[in-house]
């Protein structure tokens, strides 16, 4: 009985882990599905009841780990508001796609240490459906014909002290864009809204 109780409890730390993990798999899925990196540099992994593709490129892995570990800290402090994956054409430097993860934090969890009631299974199911939508997005997103690169932007609280390795950036919006909202999931502490904006084809 005790085991089930602990399984269904979500602490701030656990919630942070879940959201950070979602970011990791979500970004990997976007990079694979949108063909930013060659498909042969990805390997299969089982997660959220799905077969997901994660990169095997050492440099890319290192970059993602560094960024996500920093975001994890901010998730824990609840100072992060958004994470944005910007996909830019290398040739024209034009932003073609913008994946936005809005994070809503329940700040009461900062003070009270009482864990919330929600089963991990349920959360993982919710996340699974978001990832599935990311996978399905190739059906409506326009083809990225030129070679592209990606960047990660983080929206944080105004008074956050920016670490050495990070620099301020513009929002990098897409002129003339179409937006599609994807599903939302919540750990009861962090609520993550997913949205993709892409350049309207003319």
């Amino acid at each position: 009985m005790a085991a089930t109780v602990t399984q269904n409890a979500i602490t701030l730390k656990g919630s942070t882990e879940i959201v950070a993990e979602f970011f990791m798999y979500g970004i990997n899925s976007i990079l694979y599905q949108r063909g930013i990196y060659p498909p042969e540099t990805f390997t299969r992994a089982q997660k959220y009841g799905l077969t997901l593709l994660v990169t095997t490129d050492e440099q890319l892995k290192k970059y993602l780990n560094e960024v996500i570990s920093q975001i994890k800290e901010w998730l824990f402090n609840m100072t992060v508001k958004k994470l944005v994956v910007v996909i830019r054409s290398i040739d024209t430097n034009e932003v073609l796609e913008r994946w936005q993860f809005d994070v809503e934090c329940d700040k009461t969890a900062l003070t009270e240490s009482k864990p919330r009631e929600k089963s991990e299974k349920e959360i993982s199911k919710e996340i699974g459906s978001v990832i599935r939508q990311i996978t399905a997005s190739v059906t409506f997103l326009p083809l990225l014909e030129s070679a592209c690169e990606f960047d990660l932007l983080v929206y944080t609280d105004k008074n956050l002290e920016v670490p050495e390795a990070w620099g301020e950036s513009g929002p990098q919006f897409i002129a003339n864009s179409e937006e599609v909202r994807l599903r939302t999931f919540t750990t009861t502490i962090h609520k993550v809204d997913t949205m993709v904006a892409y350049k309207k084809s003319d």
Partner: protein, 529 residues
């Protein structure tokens, strides 16, 4: 005018608090009424304003413009000239139309004004133009910016300074295939998927064909004749006419034929015997031309390279015979420790591939007279005897090789670089391999469990078709000179002819017309017009 006076009487009687000055006024008023003042004006007004005045007309005018309150008017009766001004204190909020504006301090709410000014400044310190905009415009702008930026003003946007590594040089997004319309793939699919008959076109009996993996008992000549070794005899089947002739019969019943190979032109047949002899037969005359000895064990594989005939023996040696010379034995390759069961010269004659029961695949150069020859490459990846060998007709240095029961793999080699290009597990013993001349495909024949022939797409190595029918392992294969038909010989003592690489009729026609047009530019021009 009596009714006026009566009225005044009543009103003064009722209004007990009226000023006392009323009394005398009534008296001169009465006098004035009697003197016949203007009857058209209202009596009450006249009574009040004209009272103090000696010029009734003047005071009458003034009263018309100013006063409707007779009782107060009379109180100011001591200064009749300034009657207009003296009345202003009674009506302070409606100043008369003058040429000066005197602000009314009590109406201006200084506290509220001060508060609003200070809070506005504190609230939006950055927006300098704010007070120039109308409130509605400000509101609009606020909503717009919220829509566009979210709560941009309250957050920082930061990004990691070291950026993600770019995709490798020259990488191109391959997702285009997902976006291409469905029309073109269907057309392509029509072209690629052709009908492959699942049953053999013809079945021939091959009694007493030896069930021996290490022999090569079939070959099809350029003249469309199929040579088949049945025990100790060699039969020729003319594929054009269907005639069967027995070419030879070995002398004793213990002897058997281990290999046959047609020279490129198709007029001579080389025959390898269990005694180690290699014979050369003239087909037109049905006569043996030469008997070349040298091998100490049976000859199970033969291959021609121009006038050079190479023969592989159970001893592991490969002998090269120049059939034009009396001293026919011009060279020996010793690279195998066990029987040589696969032997093939490449189409361009630059390489000789030999496979042995020692699981080795050797690639040799073309210099057959070398005194101490060494194989260019030795491939030891196969885990069983290497019998099935075939050179790719369109890629000069690509070789396909198949392994026996313990190996079951088809492997592809680039013999120019010595690299293994690909390997595929066929799940069954590989007995023979042939490349199609027409399609980018190859066919392999197999043993247990299905005894099938498998057609593969190259280089993807996806299965195109599986041809089943043999009831025992399919040991040998040969291809017709036009490339359309494959003959297979099984241990079940049958020969089956499969028309699996049939040329597309439409394609044929198109090619014919193209070649015709090429020869005759005049017709081409006329067609355009």
């Amino acid at each position: 005018m009596n009714h006026f006076s009566l009225e005044n009487e009543i009103s003064s009687a009722v209004r007990m608090d009226a000023p006392i000055t009323r009394g005398p006024a009534l008296r001169w008023q009465r006098k004035m009424n009697e003197s016949g003042a203007d009857a058209s004006t209202s009596g009450n007004i006249l009574n009040v304003s004209c009272g103090p005045s000696k010029t009734p007309m003047k005071s009458m005018n003034r009263s018309m413009t100013q006063s409707k309150t007779p009782s107060t008017g009379s109180s100011a009766s001591k200064t009749p000239k300034s009657g207009g001004k003296s009345k202003t204190p009674n009506k302070p909020k409606t100043p008369i139309g003058g040429d000066r504006f005197i602000p009314n301090r009590s109406t201006t709410q200084f506290e509220l004004g001060y508060y609003k000014l200070t809070t506005e400044n504190a609230g939006q310190p950055d927006e300098e133009n704010l007070d120039l905009m109308s409130p509605s415009k400000m509101e609009y702008q606020k909503i717009m910016s919220e829509n566009l930026h979210g709560d941009l003003l309250n957050s920082k946007i930061i990004s990691y300074k070291s950026k993600a590594p770019g995709a490798p040089e020259g990488y191109h997004n391959g997702l285009k295939v997902l976006y291409s319309s469905c029309k073109t793939p269907i057309i392509n699919a029509k072209k690629t998927v052709r009908h492959i008959p699942q049953v053999p076109e013809r079945i021939l009996d091959a009694p007493e064909v030896l069930d021996d993996y290490y022999l090569n008992l079939l070959d099809w000549s350029a003249n469309n004749q199929l040579a088949v070794c049945l025990g100790g005899s060699v039969y020729l089947w003319n594929a054009s006419t269907g005639d069967i002739t027995q070419l030879l019969q070995l002398e004793t019943s213990e002897e058997y034929v281990g290999a046959v190979a047609w020279v490129k032109e198709g007029n001579y047949l080389a025959v390898g015997c269990s005694t180690g002899e290699v014979q050369l037969w003239d087909i037109a005359q049905e006569k043996r031309l030469r008997n070349m000895t040298g091998h100490v064990a049976r000859v199970g594989s033969l291959s021609w390279n121009g006038p050079i005939l190479s023969s592989g023996s159970r001893s592991g040696n490969i002998h090269h015979h120049d059939v034009r010379m009396v001293e026919h034995h011009v060279g020996t390759f010793s690279g195998h420790s066990q029987e040589v069961c696969g032997l093939k010269w490449s189409p361009d004659g630059r390489y000789l591939a030999s496979g042995g029961n020692d699981n080795l695949l050797n690639i040799w150069g073309a210099n057959v007279t070398d005194t101490s020859p060494q194989p260019t490459y030795v491939f030891s990846q196969h885990l069983a005897a290497v019998k099935a060998l075939a050179w790719c007709p369109w890629q000069p240095s690509v070789l396909a090789s198949g392994g026996g029961t313990a190996d079951r793999h088809i492997r592809f080699w680039n013999c120019a670089t010595g690299s293994c290009l690909d390997s595929v597990d066929t799940k069954s013993q590989v007995c023979a391999i042939l490349w199609s001349k027409e399609y980018k495909e190859l066919i392999s024949s197999h043993g247990f469990a299905l005894n099938q022939l498998t057609i593969w797409k190259y280089p993807t190595m996806t299965k195109v078709a599986e041809l089943t029918g043999h009831s025992s392992r399919v040991l040998h294969m040969a291809m017709s000179p036009d490339g359309s038909t494959v003959v297979s010989a099984g241990a079940d003592e049958t020969l089956r002819l499969w028309k699996c690489f049939a040329l597309d009729e439409e394609k044929k026609k198109a090619m014919k017309s193209v070649s015709k047009d090429k020869h005759n530019p005049i017709t081409q021009r006329s067609l355009i017009r």
